[in-house]
Symmetry: C2
Subunit: 186 residues, 2 copies
């Protein structure tokens, strides 16, 4: 478990940094929004990432504490603290998933080289990290066979839609859930 905690620590430290870069990009866009809809749209994404940032500020030291102070014997399904940590990590798995989508949404709009290059970099790292967190949590859940049922597990199975074609500059167009088709408003 210590090995996994090291990976979680690295991933969430990286994504914390990525949030800050993304928020810095959104700031002038919000300031200069041309109408209320646009302003709300980017401000909303900004706030969701800000909420995630606040949670990570608490979670990262907790991961660190677990890694340094706990023994392998503390990582049991009967340990409340440990279950709590797993639940927080599960929440942040979805935080990472949503972040990838925020970056994809931004990639549709910020098509200039400077911003799209940064967004694509953040997107690739975040997507890879999301996949790894998902795998690690699945593995931990299996290993401990504890009674925690992931309420989102059914959903995850369909989440290949986050994957995108080989080229890192092509915005996720394929592999989305089947059954989506044509005609409306945005």
């Amino acid at each position: 478990m210590k090995k996994e905690l090291k990976v979680f620590f690295k991933i969430f430290t990286t994504t914390k940094d990525a949030i800050e870069k993304f928020m810095n990009m959104l700031n002038p866009v919000i300031q200069n929004a041309s109408d209320d809809h646009e302003r709300l749209y980017y401000h909303h994404i900004y706030e969701e990432e800000e909420q995630r940032l606040s949670r990570l500020v608490e979670l990262i030291p907790l991961i660190s504490k677990f890694e340094q102070e706990k023994d392998e014997k503390d990582f049991t399904p009967t340990n409340n603290e440990f279950n709590r940590l797993l639940q927080e990590l599960n929440l942040e798995k979805f935080g990472l998933h949503n972040f990838v989508e925020h970056l994809d949404l931004a990639l549709f709009r910020f098509t200039d080289t400077e911003r799209s290059t940064l967004l694509n970099e953040l997107r690739d790292v975040s997507y890879r990290d999301y996949q790894q967190v998902k795998e690690l949590l699945n593995e931990i859940n299996t290993r401990f066979d504890h009674d925690y049922v992931d309420p989102h597990a059914h959903h995850d199975e369909h989440h290949d839609h986050l994957a995108r074609p080989a080229s890192p500059t092509v915005v996720t167009k394929s592999k989305r859930k089947k059954g989506f088709t044509v005609g409306s408003l945005l």
Copy 2:
């Protein structure tokens, strides 16, 4: 505390129902999206509400359990379970906040009478409920004076921007954070 738990139970049961109505509205929009950007946009909001729904499915029975099985003496800052509950409630306070914004974003696009009427109803209830959850949690935090520091508290102070003018059909145009102005992309 039992009285507050009753209110939380009612609010989160109501919002669970509201999520389902909103998801039903989004479903055909996603199915009929005219392009990938639009599809991702509504699908993203759909997923965030779906994640919230999954959390509420766990939280509502927990509130209920606390209300029925616990004594007032269990509601102390030294009770881990109680602190846990407060932290979950705090997360769902932000879930409600984000829901109000999802509804506001939808109101910019779904301007037909049928959908805008439903969206406005959901919006008004959710906004009122968000305010009440915020007040109750502030009050509880003060009363117990426990060591839980709300990482979002600084942010909430600026959240009057959710308020909107008297008319329930006018989409939130005023009271937004000062300093936002003109020019860009959506």
